[in-house]
């Protein structure tokens, strides 16, 4: 075992895959000597050269389109887009092309592309650089969407994503310094499996991405109130590990869904709908299904205001306690 940051874990996954297969190519803006906007690709150019590290002009739509075309002929591009917000610019190649090529060509072509981009607030970069836009992608058949929280999940999932024959949207949070221990050597984590980050019996909190850590904090505090929290880190949004969610909620009878994206129209709705759409799970529910998500607001620059945007441990705790009316 060794300690790696989220940044290093992602980098290591890329290095291992690039070394294994020269068709794995990093494509993006300033991914060379600059190391990318969040320094994730540092050292890759030196090690693999321009054959596997391609720096592009500021042309998000074009470079993703180019990656789609290259993938159709066998490249395994790992695209890095500096901020998730610019996914708006890459929406056409991803949604209208990458997601549909295998289907529209009845399997003549596939698009084994990974689209890496960081989402979320906390950087003071204001409204156009801090969104959580996973909802752009989760309703698109043909795409897979993952969003790991921890270094180990990031590494394992990225390696699977790179080897996957389908286009995978690989979302990252911006706490790239987050550290955890990681097994030495080769390992992968399959797409589509949630991870129970904490076992519990009274309430299931379902989340993904950066808010996994917020929920962990909230759960630790809730220990004092003797509420035992089970934390499901989805890791993969599409495909979603519905069995794991349902099993947990059937056990606890209570569910709270947490993410940083604005609540209204966010992915939490899908999770809630999975829970209450299942007869047995529905019958097991002892309380309404709650959501604690981002506020309905573009990200303000002001630090104090920005801090109030994503779910806080306090808000999660309140939402959980509200599910135990007798206990309050």
């Amino acid at each position: 075992m060794k300690k790696l940051s989220y940044r290093e874990a992602i980098r290591e996954a890329m290095i291992e895959e690039m070394a294994r297969d020269e068709q794995v190519v990093i494509i993006g803006e300033d991914v060379g000597c600059y190391g990318g906007c969040f320094k994730v690709t540092t050292g890759l150019l030196e090690r693999f050269g321009t054959h596997q590290v391609i720096e592009t002009p500021v042309s998000e739509e074009g470079l993703v389109g180019v990656a789609v075309g290259a993938a159709m002929l066998g490249m395994r591009p790992v695209v890095e887009i500096m901020y998730g917000d610019f996914s708006t610019l890459a929406a056409d190649p991803l949604i209208n092309h990458a997601a549909k090529t295998h289907f529209m060509t009845a399997g003549q072509f596939s698009v084994p592309l990974v689209y890496r981009t960081p989402m979320g607030s906390g950087t003071g970069a204001a409204a156009q650089h801090t969104q959580s836009l996973e909802a752009l992608f989760t309703n698109i058949p043909g795409l897979k969407v993952v969003y790991p929280a921890t270094p180990i999940d990031a590494k394992g999932l990225l390696k699977s994503a790179i080897r996957d024959p389908d286009p995978v949207i690989f979302l990252e949070h911006k706490v790239y310094g987050t550290e955890s221990v990681i097994p030495e050597g080769e390992f992968t984590i399959p797409l589509g499996l949630a991870d129970i980050k904490r076992q519990g019996k009274d309430v299931s909190i379902i989340t993904y991405g950066k808010t996994v850590f917020t929920v962990l904090k909230a759960a630790a505090i809730l220990e004092d109130t003797e509420v035992s929290v089970e934390i499901i880190d989805l890791r993969s949004l599409r495909p979603l590990d519905t069995p794991t969610i349902l099993e947990s909620v059937r056990k606890t009878g209570r569910a709270v869904v947490v993410h940083e994206a604005p609540q209204f129209g966010g992915f939490a709705g899908e999770v809630v709908a999975q829970i209450v759409g299942d007869e047995e799970t529905f019958r097991a529910l002892k309380a309404p299904v709650a959501r604690v998500c981002g506020k309905e607001m573009p990200t303000p620059f002001n630090k104090d205001l920005e801090r109030q945007l994503p779910p806080s441990p306090q808000a999660i705790i309140e939402a959980v306690l509200a599910l135990f009316p007798s206990a309050v």
Binding site: V25, P57, A67, M72, L73, D92
Partner: protein
Amino acid sequence: MSIAFNREQGLKSLTLMIRSRLFEKKIEALFSSHEMHGTTHLAIGQEAVHAGVSPALDPEDWILTTHRCHGHTLAKGASVEAMLSEFFGLSQGLSKGLGGSMHLVDLEHHNGGTSAVVGSGVAIATGMALQLKRTGSHNLVVAFFGDGASSRGIIHEAMNMASIWNLPVLFLCEHNLYGMSSCATNMVSVESIASRGASYSIESRTVDGNDVEVVYAAVQEAAQYIREESRPYLLETRTYRLSGHSKNDIRNYRTREEEAAWSQRDPLKILKERMIARGHLSEDDYNLLEKHEQKSLDKIAESLAKQKRYLSFEEASSYVYATGGSR
């Protein structure tokens, strides 16, 4: 600048153009009689472009085309039967009935398919070229786009990247004067789209897109340049869509006089008359050829119209992901 086809070349080219023309007319008829559904974009009048481009290439060169893709697909090697099957939505169609008229694709003949999002295919083609270059292939990619598409930003991004990376891509602008109802005169801020090559240090040229010999020669030259210089190339072909934009187009945005004038420059007429003048063809030969093509087409169409072999919903589902399954 131009070459003169010998008799054999001329006949091959003429046959292809006749086949394309009759194919489009057949499609038009099948739509009118509601035997086909969806929408369709005919390339009647633009045969010299598709018959001039792919035959001038190495068969392993790639093309990536547009919503107006029938002629390109035929010229790149797809059989009339596989194409027509796709129009009928049959499981033996080019993409088993999942793509339809706007999404003809043919891996076997190095046809990467289309984007029906006007312009977007040009970036995809550029990416294919990137991969060809990376893997040391000597092949190139033809990125078809129209005068309408030329206003999409993606064209700018793709040309810039193709230039800085020295990619083997032939940007092939099929300038047919209109994008739907919009005349290029009002929408394109420059006389010659080819002249925009200068913005990307891309070699470029405008040629008569109704003269198949001219197109053929220009593509050969461009392809040679691309292979030898390892540089992209922009070729603008000036032509005219004699048909409407898609079904039910009353063409109130242009005059019948303009159409008549362009009919005089019908690419089939031009080649036919030239071959007759050269003694390579007689009127009778032509009629025979046409009749032969028509008969073969009718036969295929008739046989397919009766078929109902569609993918099941489950089979269709299995194509959503390369890993199988629909989620």
